[in-house]
């Protein structure tokens, strides 16, 4: 398995893409070519992937011995599905970009570097290396939102940067404390070192909280979610897709990898609190989504609600719920990614996000409307689509732990249907709205190429969840074996 290539290829590609300068068209095709190379690396990892192991290191470099840090790279059932998701979304976005003058070579370059950073944090099994990649993600994302976003972009970019940075600085302290106490930052060595738990306000507990807060901001868990609607709304389409599809998922992944595994007792102690916050997130996010008049903002709040489900799944602390959360990660990445992508394509033509300006999309472009409805259904969690599998697993797992949270979660499913269907009624059906009236909504071939595989993937995952669940089953069982 060539894990180094997995993040070096997009990184080098990013640097090369900067050199294209004003030749946007060439850069866009070159970007596609880079994705091909990257795809070979991803494919190689996927085909050689051994699901029956946890935390095995495939590549290691003792780069900073004085800081107790080694660049350990590994892939297991936790990270593999997200690596695939990241690649798929990025590839489809590469298609989406074709022919769009505004998405210049520096946009593509930053995007590629963002991919390198997110993949890097997924595959590094060393806390220091993980942190470097984790923080590095902020720089390209800051520019993507701030430069290519819509009206309030500067504010949104700054808010995004400040929130995530504030969270991760606490993680930095936690990493320093780990390094000073245990003399190692390697994930597997830390796990084997037997971290002694001395209560939530003891040293270990505070280290745990440092990690937990950083990930909670990234997920984002209510009440630190306020950066997300702004960032999502103002970001350009591609950045919204990656934000929803990869960056938020890294928070869930981080909790599973660093919090649950290294600090099982502490996770148990905070489980009720976190589940409460998750449940509040579901309800508050759903109600907020219901009341939005801005479509992207509505999808963003729906993300808050869906990520509340994943928090429930993470902290219900049983195999069903955890594998549900990891699966829902993928499902939500696909469905919300598709929603942002399709709406982004519509927005490219109409330049308005207000629900009131829309209506009657179905009569204008039936195929696109169907795709939109399909993605919305996946987001609601219709049986046969992956959202259902994830939510079902999470809710049944939660039911074992705490019936009240399961019921709150169930109400979230209902609310999800209400706001999604309400939005569909106003946007897709009904009388033709002014924005839809004024602009022809005809898609280029490359935009279809970006949308269709997403829909197919959702269908495949919804019908055959074993495809992914079988890969992550060992990992989730391994983690739950610690409790």
């Amino acid at each position: 398995m060539n894990l180094l290539g997995l993040f070096l290829i997009p990184f080098v590609a990013g640097l090369l893409l900067f050199l294209f300068g004003k030749q946007t068209k060439l850069a866009q095709w070159a970007n596609l070519l880079f994705h091909l190379f990257w795809g070979v690396a991803v494919w190689q990892c996927w085909s050689n992937f051994n699901a029956e192991q946890m935390g095995e290191i495939y590549w290691s470099w003792n780069w900073l011995p004085m800081l107790n840090s080694k660049l350990d790279l590994g892939l297991d059932g936790l990270s593999m599905p997200l690596v695939i998701l990241n690649y798929v979304l990025s590839l489809l976005l590469a298609f989406y970009c074709l022919g769009k003058e505004k998405l210049s070579s520096s946009y593509l370059a930053l995007f590629s570097i963002l991919n390198a950073a997110s993949i890097g944090s997924l595959i590094s099994l060393d806390a220091f290396a993980f942190y470097i990649f984790w923080e590095f993600m902020l720089i390209p994302m800051y520019f993507l939102i701030g430069k290519w976003g819509s009206k309030n972009r500067v504010y949104a970019a700054l808010k995004f940067f400040a929130f995530t940075m504030a969270g991760s600085l606490l993680m930095l302290l936690a990493i320093i404390a780990l390094s000073k106490t245990y003399g190692t930052l390697s994930w597997i060595e830390l796990k084997n070192a037997g971290i002694v738990y001395d209560g939530l306000w003891g040293q270990t507990g505070l280290i745990f909280l440092g990690f937990l807060i950083a990930f909670s901001v990234k997920i984002p868990i209510w009440p630190v979610h306020t950066w997300l609607p702004d960032a999502h709304t103002e970001a350009p389409t591609g950045a919204s897709v990656i934000l929803a599809g990869v960056l938020l998922k890294l928070g869930v992944y981080g909790i599973a990898r660093w919090c649950l595994v290294l600090f099982p007792e502490a996770s148990q102690d905070v489980s009720t609190v976190m589940m409460t916050l998750g449940a509040i997130g579901i309800v508050a996010g759903s109600f907020a989504a219901w009341k939005q008049v801005d479509i992207k903002r509505m999808i963003a709040y729906s993300s808050v609600a869906h990520l509340g489900f994943m928090v429930l799944g993470l902290f219900a602390l049983n195999v069903e719920a955890l594998s549900g959360a990891m699966f829902q990660n993928l499902a939500h990445g696909l469905s919300t990614g598709a929603l942002f992508l399709i709406f982004g394509i519509i927005y490219d033509r109409t330049h308005t996000r207000k629900v009131a300006d829309y209506g009657g999309l179905a009569s204008k472009n039936g195929l696109l409307a169907s795709a939109f409805v399909f993605s919305a259904m996946a987001s609601i969690g219709l049986p046969g689509l992956p959202g259902f599998i994830g939510e079902f697993l999470i809710l049944s797992g939660t039911f074992f732990t705490n019936k009240i949270f399961a019921f709150v979660g169930l109400s979230g499913v209902l609310l999800g249907a209400i706001y999604m269907l309400g939005m569909l009624r106003k946007v897709v059906f009904g009388p033709v709205g002014p924005a839809v009236e004024a602009h022809p909504i005809v898609l280029e071939w490359n935009e279809w190429v970006a949308i269709v595989p997403l829909l197919l993937l959702m269908l495949v995952l919804g019908m055959g969840p074993q495809l992914i669940l079988s890969k992550s089953m060992f990992s989730t069982e391994w983690i739950m074996g610690l409790f």
Binding site: W63, L64, E135, L138, Y142, G146, A162, L170, L172, I176
Partner: protein, 491 residues
Amino acid sequence: MNFDFFNAGVFQFNVEQLRALFPFLALCLGMVFTTIASASKFPIAAHKLILLITFFAFGTSMAVGLGSADASLFGGSLVVDDVLRWVAIGLSSLAVLALLAVYDVDHSEWSTLLLVSVLGMSLLPGARDWICFFLFLETMAIPGYVMAAFRQKRDGGYESGLKYLLMGAFASALLLMGSTLLFGATGSFEYSTISDVLQMGIPSHMTIAAVVLIVVSAGFKVAMAPLHMWAADVYQSAPSSLASFMAGAGKLAVFSAVSVAWSKSGFFKLEFVPSFLMVLGILSILIGNLMALTQKSLRRMLAYSSVASAGYVAIVLPVGEVALPSIFVYLVTYGIALSAAFAVIESLSVKSGKSSSSNFTLSDLALVPYGKAKAETFILTLALFSMAGIPPLPGFLGKYLILSDVWTHSPVSALWILLGSMMGLAYYLRILVPLYFEKGPSNDDVPVKRFIPQTVMASAFVGATGLFVWVWIYSVYFVSATSETLLGTLR
């Protein structure tokens, strides 16, 4: 202090000692040549060439000496050890960045002054008694006063030079007073003797007064709040290359020297010193960052940000000599980023048609012809992210090392550093907004009237590359090399 200073023996050197002194001879030779060059009215390029060769010789001879035994000179008043050598290497790198960026100075003596200043700076961490410390500090500072006033008639050069001189003289007086009192209390100027005496019992009022005076004088020199008043004016008005050099290299020299001197004199064993430094550090972090947030002039903003950075280092100082690697890495990365940023600001202000960079404000960034300033904006971005401590830029390494040393010492004060870096983020990112996100009407068609020498951008470019490649490797090597030798000697 050896009072048989002029007796035979003190000035008789063996081969080891001569070898340790050799790099300083290179500096002195450079001074001779630059003086000749000034007297014969050579062009500025000749000065730069002489300086480049000198600093190359100085830096490499120091690097060659790394790892060899410590040489004790002048009856033990000066010790050339690895700490001194590393600081000297760092200083010569910063000096190269500064000299490349020099242009548009009214006086050709800058080259000699720069060399004298570097001589004082690099000797400073080797001092082993307070007399030497004072001498080296003055050798470093006096050329600085002159350089700060180089633009007599422009940009408030006189005012800033005078301010710097008065403040500096005041600080020197405090240091002298402090070391005199210390001599009175302990009967010696030597660090080791003072440390022995201080350890013996409860410190007298005289000792406490002495230590406070010495700490305050150092606070003046590195611009810690509330002793920072001069910094913004000087950084704004001095020629930018020299200002960034005095800010970056001066901090590196003084902080490493102070770390050596105070730990060897046993100051940190006195109970009040760590908390005193902690107060100064927190004040610097808060005042520096808050003032930087309110600034419009970019150079003033960077000046206040360097007040904050002095605060971070002040908090880590009480850890003692073990923290030297972190201080070194932090200040070298900071100095490089600062030099690159100053060079870029100089270039941007010229390209946007301003007469000088002193009053180049945030809103002036809108006047920059971006099509012709791509390299500048990119380098400035790297420098700012490095100063803000975002990985993978090396400023992060400095911040990490400082934090981890502070953590072992007092975990709560680490939170102040975190708070400071959050505040810093706000104004660093604010500079990027007009550069990237809110570009004014394109000025690309307006012809650039004035050009600045390529070397200014070369300095920025070398700085940027340094930030990316060199500093990581170099600092990591330094961290491992020095930690081992230091820990070895401390055990």
